[in-house]
Symmetry: C2
Subunit: 321 residues, 2 copies
C-alpha cells in the first residue's frame, strides 16, 4: 500500500517516532517508495552531526553510546542512535541486558533509537545505514550516534559514514589492540579508553599513544586525535568526550574537512547506488545479451571474458537510460 | 614495449616456463596487452581441471599441494600450481622453508608453479587468479592446483573459481573447525584430514563427519563429500585424495555439474570485469557529470543520492559504448 510520503516526512519533522520508524523501514528495504522518500528527505538533510562509535566487543560501546545520549540531551540536542552492532542492547528486536539504561531514553521524545541488522556481503553498514542516517537527519536529529561492532571492514566503512569517528578501547584488551592495529588506528578522530577505573587503563592509554605515534609526520594545524579516559557506566569522562567531539567538529569546519568528508561520503553512496543499479540491469538484459549466454561462449572458448564484458556493457548502454 | 603475444602463446603451448611467466605477468597487471592476451588464450582454454585447496594456516596446505603434484606427475599429467597463500612456500618471491620439496618440482618441465600476492579489497583471488588460471590452462596444464589460505571470504571465492574444492583440516585444531564452521563446511567437495598420524585425527574426522551432517537432506545421486586422511609429508593417503578428486570430476561430468560450475564462474568473471570497467568510466566522465559534482549537490540537499545515481548512469550510457 502506498504511503503518503510528504505527510510522513512532516510528522517525522515534528519528532513523531512512528513516522521516523516508518520512513526508515521504507528506505531500508527495497520498497517501491524508496526513491520518493529519498527525494523528499534531500532538502531537509545536512543539519546533523554524525558520530561513529566503534570498538571490539566488551569495550562498553553501548554503555558509552547511552552516556553520550544523556550528555547531549543535557545540552538540549535532539539525538538519533543507529545501532548496527548485533551485540548491542539497542540492536535486534529486543533490548538485551541494558534495558534500564535504555528505558531512560526510550521515554524521551528528544531521542530516536533505531537498530539495524548487519547485512550484505560488504559487512552491513554500506547499504541501509546512509539512508537511515538521512531519515534521522531530516527528522531534525542534531547529533546522530552510529554504533557498530569493530571488526575490520566495518570500521573502515563507519569512518566513511561518520563526520567524526570515535574508537573505543578498554584496559586488559591489549591483544585486541594489537590485532586491530592495522585498521583501527587509521580511522579514529577521538580515542576513548573506557572502564578507566580498571587496572591497566593508564597502560592502555600509553600503548595507544605510542602506537598512534602522536606528532609523527603531522604538520602544524593537523588534527591530533585525543585520548579520553572514561567510566561510561558512571558517566565519568563523558563530558570530556563531548568536548573532544565538539573540538573535532570545530576543527573540521575551520579547515574545510567537514564538507570534504561529506562530499566523499555522498560520492561513495552515489557510486554504490549506481553500481548496484547497473548490476540489476545486467539481470534484466534481453536473452541474447544476457550474462549466461555470454558466459556460455566464454566456457566454449569462442569469446574471452574481456570481450564478453564489452558486449555486456554495450547491452547495458543500449537498453539503459 | 609491446610483446608478440601470438609467439608467446605458442611458446607457452610448448611448455616454455618463461613464456608462461611472461603471459601471467601480462594478465596480472593492467598491461596494455591484457585484452590481446585474453583473446589469444580463449580458444585454447577449457582443458584444465581446476582444484582449489584451502584450509587454516598449519594444516599442511603446501605440503599437500606438493604431494598432489607428485601424484599427478606419476600419472603423466602436466600440472600447474597457483599459490595465493602468503604463508605458502610457493608464494612470495622466494621459497620459504620447503625449498627441497619444491626444488624437486622446480626442475620438472611438466610442472609450472606460480605464486601470486593477495590483493584487492575483496581478498585477492577475485581478480588476477582467473586470468592466471586461463594462462596455465592454455599452456596445456591438465590439472591446476590453486592453493589459498582459508580465511573467510577467500574460501568462498576459491570455491567459485575451482571445479573441485578441497578443504584441509588437521587434528588438534578443533577451535579452527568451530570458527570456520559457517564458511568452510559449505564449500568442500572433498575434505582432507592431514597429519593423520597425530593424536586426535580420528576425532577430527568424526567431528567433521558430524558437522557435515552427511546424508542429511541429500537426494540419491547427490555428491557425498568424502573425508580422506593423509600424512602429506610422507605421501600417505595422497593417492586416495587423487581418487576422490577423479570421482568428483566424473560425478560432475555425469550430472552436468562441471559445465554449470564453469558457466557460473565465467559469468562471475565477466560481471566483475564489466562492473570494474563501469567504475573506471565513472572516473572518466566529463566534469559536469562527474561524481564529485553530483556528490556536491547531494551534500547541498539539491539532489538525492538515487537521483544522482540516475544522472551518473545516464552519463555513462551516453558517453560509453
Amino acid at each position: 500500500m502506498a504511503v503518503d510520503v510528504q505527510e510522513l516526512v512532516a510528522q517525522a519533522r515534528q519528532g513523531r517516532p512512528r513516522a521516523v520508524a516508518r520512513l526508515i523501514s521504507l528506505v531500508e528495504g527495497a520498497s517501491g517508495q524508496l526513491r520518493e522518500v529519498m527525494a523528499a528527505l534531500a532538502p531537509l538533510t545536512g543539519g546533523a552531526y554524525v558520530v561513529g562509535l566503534t570498538g571490539a566487543p566488551g569495550v562498553g560501546k553501548s554503555t558509552s553510546t547511552s552516556a553520550l545520549v544523556t550528555a547531549y540531551r543535557k545540552r538540549g540536542k535532539r539525538v538519533g542512535v543507529l545501532a548496527v552492532d548485533p551485540s548491542s542492547p539497542f540492536s535486534g528486536g529486543a533490548l538485551l541486558g541494558d534495558r534500564v539504561r535504555m528505558g531512560e531514553h526510550a521515554s524521551d521524545p528528544g531521542v530516536y533509537i533505531r537498530s539495524m541488522a548487519t547485512r550484505g556481503h560488504l559487512g552491513g553498514l554500506a547499504w541501509a545505514a546512509p539512508q537511515a542516517i538521512r531519515v534521522l537527519d531530516a527528522a531534525g536529529c542534531e547529533v546522530i550516534l552510529v554504533e557498530t561492532v569493530g571488526v575490520g571492514q566495518s570500521e573502515v566503512e563507519i569512518a566513511a559514514q561518520a563526520d567524526t569517528s570515535v574508537v573505543l578501547l578498554a584496559p586488559g584488551m591489549g591483544d585486541g589492540i594489537q590485532a586491530a592495529k592495522a585498521g583501527i588506528l587509521e580511522i579514529g578522530d577521538v580515542y576513548v579508553v573506557n572502564k578507566a577505573d580498571r587496572d591497566g587503563a593508564d597502560a592502555t592509554a600509553r600503548e595507544l599513544n605510542h602506537m598512534l605515534g602522536l606528532g609523527e609526520g603531522r604538520k602544524p594545524g593537523d588534527w591530533r586525535p585525543p585520548i579520553v579516559k572514561t567510566v561510561a557506566a558512571r558517566a565519568e569522562g563523558v563530558d570530556e568526550v563531548v568536548e573532544a567531539l565538539e573540538k573535532h567538529r570545530a576543527w573540521m569546519e575551520e579547515h574545510g574537512v567537514l564538507d570534504a568528508r561529506r562530499r566523499r561520503r555522498a560520492a561513495l553512496e552515489v557510486e554504490n547506488i549506481a553500481v548496484t543499479a547497473l548490476r540489476e540491469r545486467i539481470g534484466d538484459l534481453p536473452a541474447d545479451q544476457r550474462l549466461d549466454a555470454l558466459a556460455e561462449r566464454v566456457v566454449r572458448g569462442t569469446l574471452d571474458p574481456y570481450a564478453a564484458a564489452d558486449e555486456l556493457i554495450a547491452g547495458l548502454t543500449e537498453n539503459g537510460g
